[in-house]
Amino acid sequence: MAGVAVSTTINGDHVEYLCQPDETLLEVLRDRLGLTGAKEGCGTGDCGACSVIVDDRLVCSCLVLGAEAEGRQIETIEGMAHGDQLHPLQQKFLEHAALQCGICTPGFLIAAKDLLAKNPDPTEEEIRFGLAGNLCRCTGYDKIVRAVQDAANVMKGA
């Protein structure tokens, strides 16, 4: 199997790597680049724990090949805060205790960021359907939805 040379942008930084043709972007991020914030909960696109944004499009990184990242802009959880300044969603997840075990949290934050970018003032129903691709087994989603609502309010005011 011949490696594929990829040149891409991750969280604003230029990154180059060599990957196998069947290697997923999730595997590249976690195993080659040390970006372990994206989690593998299923590997089949059913849990959303590996969510990243590729060219402004929310995707499961387990359903993207590493080779496909060539020339793309990728955003992961590691790039969500600006220096020591947490993103309002990160801050609100903390304040509302919108996480228990926290394994789904990076995926939820990325998905919620994408949701608010496309719909800054979502209803509860829009939030619930917008985040339906992210599984959480601990919280019953209640505090997650509230944290997203609160963050949306903060971000609108900003």
């Binding site: 509302h96 926290g102 019953g140």
Partner: protein, 757 residues
């Protein structure tokens, strides 16, 4: 240890507030390290070959081709994990489950494993392992497995607990019985008797993080294990025993854990990872796929339950009886027994009898799942209680209040209750605005009660005071949902300092004494008790140091609100000394200041909850939607109320999933049909409403702050609450969980058929 665990009414400064958790920032930035997020130099990838057969003799395993594949560093079978269990039956089962020895007992049972330089090579190597199976007839259904004609899963098992010793082996491992009084006489006194049969399908805890570990065994007999677990000390014991290591030479570090709910309470693939590392001489990372998690970790029991309850016209229950059959996978468990104990625990009963049958099936080894065994029993009992209330013509809440257990009631499982919370949760529900809210067409409201025991157990903490006056708290109970925040609050409370100056961590097995695992709702209950004890020990030293600094007797030094205070008139001119001031001088007053605690936290106190659920049913499709949900539960004292609410909401959501859609589906071939999150349907965000909570605080007399465990009970009532709501919405009594749309539609059609005749 002179620690007095008794409750003392006191006012709180820190406990009961809602600060941000100490591990929070790491978790929202992706920095927190879970089981699969850790790597070691020279690490190999481990993968496991699993049986495709539900029941088969392993005639021969040929690993030679796999061993020859370039990049493969070790291939192991059961031979590489020799039996060192020395007659310990439970450990032998764990060993056999981690690597099948003579028979594959379920679809997914491990039969061999490889360690290779990368995942691709490891996958390739698995394909080169040749296993010669002799396929045997299998049985996956709990009722089928009890029949005399059923394939026998273990011919060395003879049913325990029968009056006469059986002469033939059986899939029924054990019969257990609980109760008191005379049910025959009790039913004779009843004006109304309801008798129903129920089934519940097998569910999985569904934690989002698959089992993952990195194992490293050195030639000198030392070893390290990084692993996601609910109890790293327990994993150390298991692995040390199964691998023949000295426990103290195996350091187990618990990673952040991405959910467990009972499923990470004993080892699964960890001994395999260690055995691979031992053979390869290199660290091995072993991460289960989701498919493996479903097929080969520990789901809950499938059950079949008969319930009979009788009552007088005035609503007094005169007798209650249940027969409970629980599947346990291919290894004996005690799941039916727990079901038999919990079934009627909410009620005051003169005559009660429960019988449990523990049944072997060709499914994965049953593990604990949040208040294990209680939800299924509660589903059956609480459904029947609603039916009985309907027959008598009494409001279901009033009926339950009339028959609720209270202090002094003999529990159906034996002892007499102390102060308990079932009555108050029912009264709270009766008065809750939810109960009065209007309902629309095809909508119904149901309620149900639930019980769980709660545990304490062995617990150890270290509390170290830095020279800057900050406090580090090392605990040994894995934090599954915010307990580091709660325990920091407790340390702050006891020491009288600000929460911001306390940092709690979960210590590894070499840094702290033994701790039981985080199960049985014990994490915050037990570790808070040990933290209080450790803080009190530290305060004793702080007082001694202050006495030195003042040059007075320690008897004259008291500890108040984070300060040493000199008592007595002769010391009237001495100001207070803060913890920080004392800590700053500690190098000159005798060295580091710390408090330690090793104790058994017993007296956890039983727990009760009552839930209310509104549901809408689409009569044309059988589809359901949960419209509103309320949890009322006793917390004793909520240390961090937000995380208590979180436990209530999370348990309710799991219960809702169990009630409506989650189930293991086996084909006729004995293979699991839905080992993935697409077809094992846990609730998604859009499936649920907000889940309202009401925390009651009835202090636990056996904890200094009155704390009770809160983690598990919330999963007990939802199955029945939803079944009762469906019944009230569309008039059909659902006796089979999950109440999936095809089952509800079939019930509705049958009902229409009945009426049209």
């Amino acid at each position: 240890m002179n620690f007095d665990p008794r409750y003392s009414g006191r006012s709180f400064t820190s406990v009961g507030t809602r600060p941000i958790r100490p591990d929070g920032v790491d978790k929202v930035t992706g920095r927190a390290r879970y089981g699969a997020d850790f790597n070691m130099a020279g690490q190999l990838v481990g993968r496991i070959l699993r049986s495709p057969h539900a029941h088969a003799i392993i005639r021969k395993i040929d690993t030679s081709k796999a061993e020859k594949l370039a990049g493969v560093k070790a291939v192991i079978t059961a031979k590489d994990l020799p039996d060192l269990t020395d007659g310990d039956a439970a450990m032998y089962d764990i060993l056999d489950n981690s690597m099948a020895r003579t028979k594959a007992l379920y679809d997914g049972h491990a039969v061999a494993a490889v360690a290779a330089i990368d995942a691709r090579t490891a996958r390739q190597a698995l394909k080169l392992i040749e296993v010669d199976y002799e396929v045997l007839p299998h049985v996956t259904d709990v009722d089928e497995a009890m029949k005399h004609s059923a394939p026998l899963i273990n011919d060395a098992i003879f049913t325990e607990g029968l009056e006469e010793k059986p002469v033939k082996p059986s899939n029924v491992t054990k019969r257990t019985q609980y109760g008191h009084g005379d049910v025959h006489q009790g039913f004779g006194e009843a004006d109304f008797v309801v008798e129903r049969s129920f089934k519940t399908e097998q569910t999985h805890q569904g934690y989002i993080e698959p089992h993952a570990c990195v194992a490293s065994v050195n030639p000198d007999g030392t070893a390290d294990l990084w692993v996601c677990t609910q109890g790293h000390f327990v994993y150390r014991q298991h692995c040390a025993q199964l691998l023949g290591l000295e426990a103290s030479k195996l350091r187990v570090t618990s990673s952040e854990i991405g959910g467990g709910f009972g499923g990470k309470t004993h080892v699964w693939a960890e001994p395999v990872a260690l055995a691979l590392s031992r053979k390869a001489g290199r660290p091995v990372k072993l991460v289960m796929t989701r498919d493996e998690v479903f097929r080969a970790s520990g789901p809950t029991s499938a059950t079949s339950i008969d319930v009979k309850i009788g009552a007088k016209k005035d609503g007094t229950i005169t007798a209650a009886e249940a027969t409970l059959r629980y599947s346990c996978g291919p290894y004996a468990g005690m799941w039916a027994e727990i079901g038999a104990m919990t079934a009627f625990a909410c009620y005051k009963l003169e005559n009660v009898k429960t019988v449990g049958y523990e049944v072997l099936v060709n499914r994965p080894k049953t593990a604990a799942y949040r208040a294990p065994s209680a939800p299924m029993a509660a589903f059956a009992v609480e459904s029947a209680v609603d039916e009985l209330a309907k027959e008598i013509g009494i409001d279901p809440v009033d009926f339950r209040i009339k028959n609720a257990a209270q202090e002094g009631t003999r529990a159906s499982y034996g002892p007499v209750y102390g102060p308990i919370g079932i009555g108050p949760t029912l009264e709270a529900v009766k008065n809750h605005p939810h109960m009065k809210a209007p309902l629309g067409t095809n909508q119904g409201r149901g309620m149900a009660c639930g019980f769980w025991f709660n545990f304490g157990g062995q617990t150890c903490t270290d509390l170290n005071i830095g020279m800057d006056g900050s406090v580090s708290l090392a605990v040994g109970t894995v934090d599954v949902g915010g307990s580091r925040a709660s325990l920091s609050l407790v340390a702050a409370e006891e020491l009288g300092i600000d929460y911001a100056h306390v940092k709690a961590i979960v210590a590894d097995t070499s840094s702290l004494g033994y701790n039981d695992m985080t199960d049985g709702s014990r994490g915050t209950f037990s570790s808070s008790m040990a933290t209080i004890s450790a803080a009190r020990n530290a305060i004793k030293i702080l007082r001694e140091r202050a006495a030195q600094m003042w040059d007075i007797s320690v008897d004259d030094v008291a500890w108040e609100k984070g300060h040493a205070v000199a008592k007595g008139e002769k010391h009237g001119n001495l100001g207070k000394l803060s913890l920080k001031e004392i800590a700053a001088e500690s190098g000159k007053t005798g060295g580091p200041i710390a408090g330690h605690s090793e104790l058994v936290a017993d007296g956890a106190g039983v727990s009760f909850a009552t839930h209310i659920c509104d549901i809408e049913v689409d009569p044309e499709t059988g589809s359901t939607r949960v419209l509103r949900y309320t949890v009322v539960q006793d917390a004793g004292k909520a240390v961090h109320p937000t995380y208590v609410e979180g436990q209530y909401q999370g348990g309710a959501a799991q219960g809702i999933g169990w009630a409506l859609n989650e189930e293991y589906i086996y084909g006729k071939d004995g293979r699991l049909q839905n080992p993935g999150f697409l077809d094992y349907r846990i609730p998604v965000c859009s499936d649920l409403p907000m889940i309202d909570t009401q925390i009651l605080e009835i202090p636990n007399p056996n904890h200094p702050y009155g704390v009770r465990g809160v983690g598990e009970t919330s999963i007990v009532p939802p199955l029945a609450a939803i079944a009762n709501a469906v019944s009230n919405a569309v008039g059909v009594r659902m006796s089979h969980i999950p109440m999936s749309p095809p089952r509800i539609l079939a019930a509705l059609e049958a009902e229409r058929e009945r009426f049209s005749r």
